[in-house]
């Protein structure tokens, strides 16, 4: 059911409050193109085509990183993203993303930002974040800790896919026909870890295995994991943050590998964003994050279905 008038009024207040918070933190709000030639390489994100050789963005990150590289140290964008085929109680093919970048800060600064934004959203909704079981600062853990706790196995992050398969099977997880590293990992994660996160109160999960790195840089001192966190709250995956990879050679290698996997799986292969790769060498150390705005509204209102916080849920 689409959102009621009351819900839409609250959603509007939360949006205004969030814009105000970013302004108070001296961010520049930017708008980058929604229709692009390189909508991303990620194996599991499919873009919606719009005219010849153009797609709607699945995320604004490529253009925003180019702005960071051009010398903008604090930028935020609140806008629509589109992902083909994603529809469920936490997914719509068209949704609103808050994406922001901070130059020269550790990844944990973005975690503090998230804590502040959750507070801001609850205040705007006139609700007490204590209902989340939230203590501030929110709980911080790592993928390794969660594996040890809920799967009963150590996961260093540099296991071969064969080793991971054995580990998953030994833990009693039905991996089915999965052979790719990330497919086996997420089968274990969904079966054993994600259901437990729902009861933990808001939790940041840091240090993801290197094969799930995407656009994150290896963690200094422990390259088996990357600088990445995900924020889970109220059973929702709310945000994903990276210590941004700025090495154009490594980034090109990852893009090419992802394109190869897409082609092998019969998925459309999008052109590699050469302008982004050209800009990376000029990009200072940066932390970047995407937070689902619709899900933040769900959290602040205590609503279970994303369809209940948007005015036209069929889209």
């Amino acid at each position: 059911m689409p959102a009621s008038r009351t819900t839409l009024e609250t959603r509007g207040r939360i949006l205004r409050a969030i814009r105000g918070w970013f302004e108070s933190e001296h961010f520049v709000e930017v708008e980058t193109p929604a229709r692009v030639r390189s909508p991303g390489q990620e194996v599991h994100l499919d873009a919606i085509p719009t005219g010849a050789q153009h797609w709607l963005i699945t995320s604004p990150e490529y253009h925003m990183k180019r702005l960071v590289a051009s010398g903008m140290p604090r930028i935020v964008q609140i806008g629509k993203c589109w992902r083909a085929g994603e529809r469920g109680p936490h997914h719509l093919p068209e949704f609103t993303m808050i994406e922001w970048y901070r130059v020269g800060v550790p990844l944990d600064t973005l975690a503090h930002d998230c804590e502040a934004l959750v507070r801001v959203a609850f205040r705007a909704a006139d609700r007490d974040p204590a209902v989340l079981g939230a203590h501030v600062p929110f709980r911080r853990t790592t993928v390794r800790e969660l594996f040890a706790l809920h799967v009963g196995h150590e996961l260093a992050g540099d296991e071969s896919q064969g080793t991971l398969h054995v580990l998953a099977t030994a833990a009693g997880v039905a991996v089915g026909s999965a052979t790719a590293w990330d497919d086996i990992f997420y089968q274990v994660f969904l079966d054993r870890i994600e259901p437990r996160l729902a009861d933990m109160g808001p939790t940041f999960v840091f240090d993801w295995p290197a094969p799930l790195g995407a656009l994150a840089r290896p963690k200094p001192g422990d390259p088996r994991v990357v600088e990445r966190f995900e924020l889970y709250a109220g059973g929702l995956e709310l945000a994903n943050a990276f210590g941004e990879l700025t090495d154009p050679v490594e980034q090109r290698r990852r893009f090419q590998e992802e394109s190869r996997v897409r082609a092998a799986r019969g998925k459309p292969v999008y052109p590699i964003d050469e302008a982004l790769l050209a800009a990376l060498p000029k990009m200072p150390p940066t932390a970047g994050i995407a937070l689902g705005f619709d899900r933040l509204v769900m959290l602040a209102l205590g609503v279970d279905r994303i369809q209940d916080v948007v005015p036209f849920a069929e889209h």
Binding site: H44, G85, E230
Partner: protein
Amino acid sequence: MYDTSDIRKGLKIMIDGHPYTVVEFQFVKPGKGAAFTRTKMKNLLTGNVLERNLRSGERLEPADVETKTMQYLYADADLFVFMDTTTYDQVQIPKETVGDQARFMPENINVEVLFFNGRAVDVTLPNFIEQPVVEADPGFRGDTATGATKPAKIPTGASIAVPLFISVGDIIKIDTRTGQYLERVGRG
């Protein structure tokens, strides 16, 4: 073969060699990961409920199961004989497949028979039956409020605990799942 995009309520699939029917399903997608369908399924043989996260593109084997409405005709040694109400074919089903609930299966009643790989594996009775009382001690008038009960027999031979005012010839309604008397629906 099915794949995860075919998943819907009531879809019958094989999991680990057992037939299941989908009860609930939900699209889930961990950040940066593949899409999965969180699927709640009921084992058609045992009734046990199982939850599985089925990855997009995973192939699913259809379960060869079919439910037919059949009429119970008569008992014969270790067997019950049923008739398909559409084709009039007769099928023999071992008494052990029907189990204890046979106590509430009077002749000519329509039941649902579940076939798995062509073999009858389960019989489901209607939740309620209405049967005449064929044997009961005399009742005591005016003694309805005490909650006291006495045994009464129905034609299948089952003994039901009924209120004291029930007498032979009364039609009573019984819950076949619990074997409990519910109400008197006709007087003898």
